[in-house]
Amino acid sequence: MDPTSRRLAALVVLGLGAFFSPLLGIFNRPGRVLGLPLLPAYLFAVWTILVVAAWWLTRRGPR
């Protein structure tokens, strides 16, 4: 595996941990942040981070 693949795999592990591990329980409760409900805000934030990180990791790759 080349470094980009390894980093992408690590990103997937990060996503799995953020979405499907008991860590989700931290945000799975009533509450709000910036006027938004906590869980949806958290999920969309992580999702955005994953997309941006994937862009960052693959941007030097062959187009």
Binding site: M1, T4, S5, L8, A9, L11, V12, G15, L16, F19, F20, L24, N28, R29, P30, R32, G35, L36, P37, L38, L39, P40, L43, F44, W47, T48, L50, V51, V52, A54, W55, L57, T58, G61, P62, R63
Partner: protein
């Protein structure tokens, strides 16, 4: 009515636009530009994943289950992050195998047989047709919702029906342009990518409108929702939210697999992939698309719930603008949903029709109409299949009516395709799985899927009794479809996922592990078609894919491509057209044709082909022979040792031509043909067959006639004595002797024997063998010459070595002489100085002092006289010595009476004896003849020996002189009773200046030259001198002289050596 018209007009116009776009794309492609060859287009076309179920259903699901709509997109997001790694491998594998659909992939992975492909196609059809129905249903429902008319009851006034027809037409036109699916459907891809853009833009527009124009902004929407308990529950998982955590997990897993394995996804991902590099940007573009299209789902659902718009939450996107009177926006929403539905229907129907063609139609058609031109028929069947799939979907839609919500049907499909995950993903990475395992796993998984998901959904629709769900079949609680084997407390999706994993993965793994290796896979067809030509294949391909395509596919190969390469290309092309299993059948029957059919038809072509094949074979053989010759000559030049050369060349012949027994006979120095080197012969035979060449033997005949002797059936040679002896040990059935020629004359015979029955040696082979034999002959001669040169050079070296040793010895002797000379000089000068010193000192005393005492004076003078005498003696000795050394000694050899000589010598030495009181007695044999000697010298020798003896004799001792005859010599010996000579010094007693010192006296007793001079003189006279002694028991000096009466010894140098030898023998 006008709204109906506008809605219909808009839909048709939109589809027309798609046709135009697709047509333009295909046109551009033919012009050489490919608008689709672009990573963005590729990623957008993958968004066919977002169907009307996403467009409408997500809102509905969010309204009822909150965050529960998200797993459907989170799973694919994570999968696509790995697109450049995992999916790329899948894509490249499929492209290399000509795989165009999921059943094809399974057949490629697990060997080619029809069962697996047919089963997979059936499962996918069953799993995906409802999904197509769902899309059509959404189109029909939204059309009715938008136009405000009553839900259509018939077929002809159902918008979904017309949509189905138009979409089927689109699919048939742009999804089945040619049969070879490896040529991508670029028009369709462009349309789908366009549709993905449309649905994203419309959703975002509508979402923004609903959130901000109706809901008053994000903060307001969420603020109001959070204040309501029934709405704020939507923002968490588990508990009362409607989405259990287990479902969160299992839906993510299902959708992660579905995003790859759903027929439309697989088709877009694999078949429509222009370059594998496009997968890399898709790793973030596709997840980004999913993120954007879901961004406003929550607000839309919340606004719909807060505003209490009536109707299904699924269609808030249309009902909300309508409730505000914004018809245009409602139309826009309808258009977005329509685009989502149409793209899914088009791609899914094309993908399914490929499977149907490959796994249902082709096998049947090929069995029936093998050998005809099928290209047009196959293309038509594909188009018909597309139409059939879409209409099947419509029929299903009519059948299910309103009983299912959108979401359930979609997830049902997801669960169905998930059953393929073990066999696809494990099959790609694990080589241990078998076809049986894949079949078992698929069957088990599909059964679980049908029982735990399909059956309950039928029950909920009222087609099956609900008691089946509540009490289980036949009242068996354990078999309740939603609580199978007592597994309770899980949502239906997790429940189904667990059990299908158990059965699917369990069967797959256990069957794989129990039945080792991949069964069912055959050797590639290409291996068996070596004779096939480019034209043959073009004919064959034309029958399935049309002439132009066939020419194009084969035209990509180089002019002189090997038959295997042609066949592989044809196989790939056919596989993408009719599926791998059918391809196999086609090629097998095609390749088998010349064997099964009447051969005479092929006579004309066959003859040509055969001649070509033969000449090719001959060329190959010739090449091989040349390479053997080449290797042989390399071996020959590698070594000059004859036995090594022969052994290696025989080994080469044995290896290359498969002879078990080989021999090289060479003519040896005795004139016999002797086996010099051999392979596999018995030593007895090797010994016995060493006979001079004669015509009684085969090898002799070969040698004498100089022509090869070939015996192809050795039974004819049984009378030959040597052959009988040979065949006792080795059951030879055929053999071959060829002469080894060097410069036109035979020097030996090379023989090869085989034991594998009678054999025909071709002329080419005999020629090659003869060539090898001549090379061997040359090598043998070279090796012999080399050996001779070696021997000569060894001899030369030996000679040089000997001469060098001699010279060294001579040099050493010279050095020694030199040293001796120096020693001699220093000793002589020392010896001369001693008497001189006495003479000078006593003469000085006499000169300087008055010596009154006459007696003393007289004594001094006597000392001076004695010392002067001693000095003159020494000088005489030295003169003698120098004469001897210079060879100037003049001897007058005459017969001498020995007795007289002894007496004279005794007279001379008498004073010495008297002085010491020594008694000397001579005993001379009376009849002793005279000896040949120089008179003075003989006396000198005797006097020296006598004075020497008296010198060492003790007071009153005896000296005996004996003379007697010994052969042709007289032996003279002088014995004393002195202290003797130590044995270690006996050999040096005759050396110059060697003195054995008297142990009682310090000063030397003589010049030390006497014995040496005596030895030289005796040897000059032709005799020999030596000494014998025992320490403490006296010494005996003896010498011999030739007798005068022997006529042979007339004196002189000529007889000297012989005389000496005899004397030695005597001594």
């Amino acid at each position: 009515m006008s709204r109906t018209f506008w809605a219909a007009f808009l839909s048709l116009g939109y589809v027309f636009n798609l046709f135009a776009l697709a047509y333009w794309t295909d046109w551009a492609r033919r012009k050489g530009r490919s608008p689709v060859d672009n990573a963005w287009v590729y990623s957008l076309s993958l968004a066919v994943y977002c169907t009307s179920w996403t467009f409408y259903g997500s809102v509905g699901r969010a309204a009822s289950q909150g965050a529960g709509f998200l797993p459907i997109y989170l799973g694919p997001t994570l999968v696509f992050l790995l697109a450049p790694v995992v999916l790329r491998r899948l894509v490249s594998f499929c492209r290399s195998e000509g795989v165009t659909c999921l059943p094809d992939l399974l057949e490629a992975l697990y060997g080619k047989g029809q069962a697996l492909g047919t089963l997979s196609t059936a499962i996918l059809l069953a799993g995906v047709t409802p999904y197509v129905a769902l899309q059509l249903k959404a189109v029909g429902y939204t059309f009715d919702l938008l136009t405000g008319r009553a839900p259509a009851s018939g077929t002809l006034n159902d918008a979904a029906f017309w949509a189905a027809l138009v979409l089927a037409l689109f699919g048939a036109l742009f999804g089945a342009r040619t049969l070879v699916a490896s040529e991508r459907h670029e028009g369709m891809v462009a349309a789908v990518a366009f549709e993905s853009a449309v649905k994203l833009v419309t959703f975002l527009l509508l979402g923004a409108y609903i959130t901000w124009a109706i809901g008053g902004g994000l903060a307001s929407v969420f603020g109001r929702a959070l204040e309501r308990a029934d709405l704020s529950r939507l923002f968490t998982l588990g508990g009362s939210s409607g989405t259990p955590v287990s479902e969160w997990m299992s839906l993510s897993l299902l959708s992660a697999f579905a995003v790859v394995l759903l027929p439309r996804q697989f088709h877009m991902l694999v078949v429509e992939n222009v370059r594998e590099e496009h997968l890399t940007p898709s790793a973030w573009v596709f997840p980004g698309y999913l993120l954007l299209i879901n961004l406003l789902v929550f607000p839309v659902a919340l606004v719909g719930l807060l505003e209490k718009v009536g109707g299904s939450p699924d269609f808030f996107l249309i009902s909300l603008p309508l409730s505000r009177g914004h018809t245009i926006l409602a139309f826009l929403a309808y258009l977005g949903g329509f685009s989502a539905a149409t793209s899914m229907v088009i791609v899914a129907s094309v993908a399914l029709s490929t499977m149907i063609l490959h796994h249902f139609v082709s096998p049947l058609v090929l069995r029936r109409w093998a050998g005809r031109d099928l290209s047009v028929h196959l293309l038509h069947s594909k188009r018909v299949s597309i139409l059939a799939v879409v209409l099947l979907g419509y029929a299903f839609k009519r059948w299910i009516g309103d009983s299912h919500t959108l979401v359930n049907i979609g997830l049902l499909s997801f669960a169905a395709v998930t059953q393929f995950a073990p066999s696809v993903f494990l099959g790609l990475y694990w080589k241990g799985a078998s076809r049986a395992a894949a079949l078992a796993g698929l069957l088990g998984g599909a059964a679980v899927w049908a029982y735990t998901l399909l059956l309950p959904s039928f029950a909920e629709s009222g087609w099956v009794s609900m008691s089946l769900l509540r009490q289980g079949p036949w009242g068996l609680e354990l078999l309740k479809p939603q609580e199978l084997f007592g597994l309770k407390g899980l949502d239906p999706w997790t429940h189904a996922l667990v059990w299908s994993a158990v059965f699917n993965l369990g069967l797959y793994l256990s069957v794989s592990l129990l039945r080792s290796g991949r069964s069912g896979g055959d050797l590639p067809v290409a291996a068996s078609g070596a004779w096939i030509s480019r034209d043959d294949l073009e004919d064959l391909l034309t029958r399935f894919v049309g002439a132009s395509k066939a020419r194009e596919v084969l035209g990509e190969l180089p002019e002189r491509a090997l038959p295997q390469a042609l066949l592989e290309t044809a196989e790939r092309c056919l596989a993408s057209a009719v599926g791998t299993a059918s391809t196999r059948m086609i090629l097998r029957s095609y390749l088998a044709w010349p064997r099964d059919q009447a051969v005479e038809i092929l006579d004309v072509f066959g003859g040509v082909t055969r001649t070509l094949a033969e000449s090719r074979e001959a060329l190959e053989r010739r090449l091989r022979e040349l390479s053997v010759l080449h290797e042989a000559s390399r071996t020959l030049s590698r070594s000059l040792d004859i036995d090594t050369v022969l052994r290696e060349v025989l080994g080469l012949i044995q290896r290359e031509f498969g002879f078990d027994h080989l021999a090289v006979r060479l003519l040896d120095s005795t004139g016999a043909l002797r086996i010099r080197s051999h392979v596999g012969l018995h030593e007895d035979y090797v010994e016995a067959s060493s006979v001079p060449p004669s015509r009684a033997t085969h090898f002799g005949t070969c040698f004498l006639n100089g022509v090869p002797v070939i015996v192809e059936d050795a039974r004819s040679s049984e009378g030959n004595p040597f052959f009988r002896m040979l065949s006792l040990r080795v059951p030879v059935t055929a053999f071959l002797h060829v002469p080894m020629f060097h410069e036109g004359r035979p020097i030996g015979v090379l023989a090869a024997y085989t034991t594998r029955g009678p054999m025909h040696f071709t002329d080419e082979f005999v020629g090659l063998f003869a060539g090898l034999a001549n090379q061997l002959a040359l090598a043998v001669v070279n090796a012999q010459l080399y050996a001779e040169v070696q021997a000569y050079s060894h001899a030369m070296e030996e000679k040089v070595r000997r001469r060098t040793a001699e010279l060294e010895q001579a040099n050493e002797r010279l050095l020694e002489l030199d040293r001796l000379k120096s020693d001699f000089l220093s000793t002589v000068s020392h010896e001369l100085r001693t008497p001189l010193t006495s003479i000078r000192s006593f003469s000085e005393i006499l000169l300087r002092y008055e010596v009154a005492d006459e007696e003393r004076k007289r004594r001094f003078v006597r000392i001076i006289h004695d010392e002067a005498e001693r000095l003159s003696r020494m000088i005489n000795d030295l003169l003698d010595l120098s004469k001897i050394e210079a060879g100037k000694l003049e001897l007058t050899i005459e017969p001498q009476d020995l007795a007289g000589a002894v007496a004279q010598a005794l007279d001379v030495t008498k004073p010495l004896f008297v002085e010491k009181g020594v008694d000397a007695a001579a005993l001379v044999e009376p009849s002793l003849p005279p000896v040949l000697a120089d008179r003075d010298r003989l006396r000198q020798i005797l006097a020296k020996l006598l004075s020497n003896a008296s010198k060492f004799s003790p007071e009153g001792g005896r000296i005996r002189i004996g003379c007697r005859r010994r052969g042709a010599y007289a032996l003279v010996s002088v014995s004393d009773e002195g202290p003797g000579i130590p044995p270690g010094r006996l050999h040096e007693i005759f050396d110059r200046y060697t003195q054995v010192r008297d142990p009682q006296k310090d000063h030397p007793l003589g010049t030390g030259l006497g014995l040496s001079i005596s030895r030289d003189l005796v040897e000059k006279l032709g005799g020999r001198i030596w000494v014998e002694s025992k320490l403490g028991a006296g010494a005996t000096f003896s010498f011999t002289l030739p007798l005068a009466d022997d006529p042979a010894l007339g004196g002189g140098e000529a007889a000297d050596g012989a005389a000496r030898e005899e004397a030695e023998a005597a001594g």
